[in-house]
Symmetry: C2
Subunit: 235 residues, 2 copies
DNA sequence: TATCAATATTGATAAATATCAATGGATAAA
DNA sequence: TTTATCCATTGATATTTATCAATATTGATA
């Protein structure tokens, strides 16, 4: 977090924040006031670590803008990519209530902004406000379901299906466009869907030769979404 | 749930239940009273379905006694075993707050007893009682972390390591004994750790030949825990 | 008991995936 | 600029895993 720098939040109060509607909707004016005072808005450039696995949990983190990867050091010491998270995924909630230290690292893979709120402040708000607690329960359920579901889906597929799955995910869920810049390296794609770099490259090339996608360096365009979808489901 | 039958709870009130200490500790006498009145204790024999994927969520489920498997129908229509759950795992909390239908089936793999509490009752209690909400947040975090963590651990290993992992899990985490009855079939083990039945059998036989385990039908005894641990971590 | 279906087991073979090796490119550091 | 490092790519090969086939074995049921 060395190179990050603090700036005042764009909105004067957390009530103006886009997250209000989804999470802080239920707070009273006084509660919003309290929240607004205890928060910081922080920017992280691509590549910077937002949360490091093993650190003591002191704050809530909300990714406001950007894209981040969730990683962990696996039991055999290798880095494992657990998932990709957008702002609305509330990835910062993971294992927040079940551990005193962060179980995963969160690393920006695009220039990002995130909000940091003192953990104790939120804890007190939960005690006072049942609706906030309920809202948090929903968010935690959602992010956990998403991550586990994605892992289970990937396990069912072999390599071509996995590559198609991940391309579809970036195209449909994250960038909502058939043309996008891959925010992670081939090696990281491999870590995410459990395969070797060489095979990631090989299958991407294969898709290129079959004119299903086009590749220009880090930019990918999906030329035949139907075919890709078919491979994702049957390949 | 056809063959299940209702009986009064063993304790007169939920305050006497073993779960009190971990979840309902924070409730007032009146709240416990309310809870006790709205619950049912249900028995499920081995093989019976407790919750079916896709059903509307009407109740909270707490596994009190026994063992259950968590399954889902994967995108390609096959049954997939997501995890094994003991009472303290609070598996019934999964996706309870993020969906109106159950995302997973829960099936007893040993004779079990579980408590059923009306969902709305708990919802109201959450609104009134911030500590209950906090406690639920912890439980949900724990069960999600456990499932995802297990899946990530398994992904790192090849077949021998996976079998060793699952044997170690049954021995250490579930039965706390080096000798135990496997509660699931070879096929289900395969579904759980993503491999084919034939290979499950083959590797179990291999371990038997190497005198790491002994197999008598469904009973397994771990003869060399150290060797099994080594395979789990390096095999 | 006899019968049927599901599970368990083993071997042979095919297919999928990982590993090893070599090279070019890009980028950052000296 | 040179050097070093990491990433991307491709081919050849080895290893792992899945598939196919055949046969027990078990368990439930009529």
């Amino acid at each position: 977090m060395d190179k990050t720098f603090h700036t005042p939040c764009l909105g004067e109060s957390c009530g103006d924040c886009g997250f209000r509607s989804t999470l802080f909707n239920c707070l009273s004016s006084e509660q919003l006031e309290k929240l607004s005072k205890s928060k910081d808005l922080i920017k992280a450039k691509k590549g910077e670590t937002i949360i490091r696995q093993g650190e003591k949990i002191k704050d809530f983190i909300f990714l406001r803008i950007g894209l981040a990867k969730l990683t962990r050091i696996s039991s055999d010491g290798k880095e494992q990519l657990v998932g990709i998270a957008r702002p609305k995924d509330f990835i910062g909630l993971l294992s927040l209530f079940s551990s005193s230290t962060h179980q995963y690292s969160i690393i920006a893979i695009e220039d990002s902004e995130y909000c940091v709120v003192n953990f104790e402040t939120i804890n007190k708000l939960i005690q006072e406000n049942g609706k906030l607690a309920y809202s948090l329960l929903q968010k935690i359920s959602l992010v956990s379901d998403l991550l586990l579901g994605t892992k289970l889906d990937i396990d069912n597929r072999q390599l071509r299906g996995r590559i198609a799955f991940i391309l579809s995910l970036f195209s449909k869920d994250i960038y909502e466009s058939t043309k996008f810049n891959l925010p992670i390296s081939r090696k990281e794609i491999g870590e995410l869907i459990d395969m070797r770099v060489e095979n990631v490259v090989r299958i991407l090339s294969e898709f290129r030769k079959d004119k299903i996608i086009s590749i220009e360096g880090t930019t990918i365009e999906i030329l035949q979404p139907d075919k890709l979808e078919w491979i994702k489901n049957h390949g």
